[in-house]
Amino acid sequence: MTELRVNNITKNFGGLQVLHNVSFEVNGPELIGLIGPNGAGKTTLTNILDGALNPTSGTVYLNGRRIDAMPPYEVAKAGLGRTFQVTRAFRRMTVLENLYVPALALHPAARQRDFEGKAMDVLEFLTIDHLRNEYGRALSGGQQKLLELGRLLMLDPDIIILDEPFAGVHPKLMEIIYKYIYKVNEDGKAVIIISHDMDTIFTLSKRLLVLNYGDLIADGDPEIVKNDPTVIEAYLGVDEDDDSYDDEEDDDE
């Protein structure tokens, strides 16, 4: 069973402390929402879990293996996959090739054609199979988001972190992503969803983490967290009906 243990993660950039003693655990196929104001450190936390950044202090264990000192490509093979806040499709590679990258990285002895069937299934599920031979750059922004999700399916990790999967997405496409999240969750994967869209978060997640400028101020059932006075003071209460425009400001990397 998937087990992620995050112990006392602290991260400094120069003099700026972005994360401060963040600890939590993920046990089994949970559906977790991670929220927090802009600059709270959500993306930084994702980067640390995924190995792209080293924490200033603290440890991370995935299924009993220590992953905080691993480079990202080993973390990925150890079973943690993530998407990026700003989509990062491989723009000058075809959609199929985009999918083959993680598949081949995971299976050292395999060849591209071994995954043709699986890749087509994934593309069909995401409704972009007609684009399979198009270059990544020929896809619309939303389609590129779907492509990133597809790549994660090919990597087949135990835990998936989605950094703002709903930003700039049409309701029709949102449905597909919902379906995707439920599907991977049923397949036994844990999913952490970062979003500024409260409705989605409350619909999807069974557990909510709240980051507030480096501190993990709440962790628990969404309904309870929602009424937690510290959370309300720090975050939710301030501008509850601001979600709508929050969606748009997502390209600040």
């Binding site: 602290t10 120069g14 003099g15 200033t56 202090s57 000058r92 750059r137």
Partner: protein, 408 residues
């Protein structure tokens, strides 16, 4: 001969402790739960300068990073190496003759200031467009060629100021047109990988300009005559002849170099005044800080990019116009000037104008020390292009963003 082993043993000692400092210090900071950025560099230099004792003190107290913890040991390392060199080769002019050292030093500083004039332009361009212009040396070459042709071929006897002005206008225009035609699509997102595109396209321009000048002018070296003569003055402090000025009977500076250096300092001041006092300058700085915000504030960022590139190229042309009376001029002189500018801009921290000035001084001094002091002059001369490049590669490995952080 056995003296030289002293030097190499010292070098080995410095390198070993430097490497240990580089490798171990970040780990110790990490374990102490302190910020690790820059600590490798700090450890390397302190290790190199003070050996095990310095490292022990550093590791016990783990002070947080300050520029002085890098600068001070850096200077001490240079001092130690020079001392070892002096011991190793006691008959060298650099060791025996005070006036030789003084004149090398002064000439190093003068040439360093001249180099920094060359690098001001590339720094300006980098700080605003975020690209390194690989054609910088060619603008320098073209500027020199225009000045030479104005004074020597087309209008002999013309006021040199006019020639310099023509060089400035010419290079400004080339830079302007090039930016408009070839760099503009970078900013509009038309180009997939702007960084690589900028490298290749400026490289292509360098290739084009160099061969264009060679095809039109030929490959024979030319040299402009002195722009003006010093008045003859003689007093206790210095004495002048038409072509040079001599201080204390010991340190002599050729006229063209001194004028070029004075112009360089003037240009730095003018540039800083322009950037900090005029509206356009402030707009330029705003663009270099944050393109989007500047655009929102109503600044025409496209125009600013073009202006910065043209101005930067003009500065290169100006330094060429000043130096065509110092060095003999060939269509290929740009290549060396380019690589020197690269060294300076990396030394000075990619985009900082005062940094470029300090970088220029450092390169000037390095080269003066290298050519003046290393025994076997032909060999030393062949290595001249390498000194700067060794510094450049080492800095990029230690600290990929240059020595002094980014500021304008």
């Amino acid at each position: 001969m056995e003296y030289s082993s002293i030097f190499f043993l010292t070098l080995l000692w410095v390198l070993v402790w430097g490497a240990i400092g580089l490798a171990v210090t970040p780990r110790i900071y990490l374990r102490r739960d302190k910020d690790v950025s820059q600590t490798g560099l700090m450890g390397a230099l302190i290790g190199a300068a003070f050996g095990p004792i310095g490292l022990a003190i550093l590791w016990v107290f783990t002070p947080s990073y300050k520029t002085r913890w890098v600068l001070l040991p850096g200077i001490i390392v240079i001092f130690i190496l020079s001392l070892a060199f002096a011991r190793a080769d006691p008959n060298n002019l650099c060791v025996t003759s005070g006036s030789f050292v003084a004149s090398q030093l002064v000439n190093g500083i003068i040439i360093g200031i001249i180099y920094s004039l060359m690098a001001l332009g590339i720094t300006l361009i980098f700080s605003i467009l975020g690209i390194v212009s690989f054609a910088h040396g060619e603008f320098y070459m073209v500027g020199g060629m225009i000045a030479y042709f104005m004074t020597a071929r087309w209008f002999p006897g013309v006021n040199p100021l006019l020639a310099i002005l023509a060089a400035c206008v010419g290079t400004f225009l080339i830079g302007y047109v090039f930016e408009r035609l070839f760099l503009q699509p970078m900013h509009t997102g038309e180009v997939e990988r702007p960084g690589e595109y900028a490298i290749l396209i400026t490289f292509g321009l360098a290739f084009f300009l160099q061969y264009f000048v060679q095809a039109t002018v030929g490959a024979n070296p030319v040299k402009a005559t002195r722009y003006f003569d010093f008045p003859i003055v003689e007093n206790a402090l210095f004495q002048t002849s038409k072509g040079s000025i001599t201080f204390f009977d010991a340190v002599s500076i050729p006229n063209p170099r001194l004028t070029a250096a004075v112009v360089a300092v003037l240009m730095l001041v003018v540039l800083l005044l322009f950037l900090y006092r005029t509206w356009t300058g402030k707009a330029l700085r705003a663009v270099s800080e944050d393109k989007q915000a500047a655009a929102v504030a109503g600044i025409n960022t496209e125009g600013m990019n073009t202006l910065a590139f043209a101005l930067g190229s003009m500065l290169a042309g100006l330094s060429g116009a000043m130096l065509v009376q110092v060095f003999s001029w060939l269509p290929q002189v740009g290549t060396i000037a380019s690589s020197r500018s690269f060294v300076i801009i990396v030394l000075g921290g990619m985009g900082s104008l005062p940094g470029a000035f300090i970088g220029g001084l450092m390169v000037g001094l390095f080269e003066a020390a290298g050519t003046g002091c290393i025994p076997d002059p032909t060999r030393a001369a062949s290595y001249i292009p390498a000194y700067g490049m060794i510094v450049l590669t080492l800095i990029l490995l230690l600290k990929p963003t240059g020595l002094f952080g980014k500021e304008l």
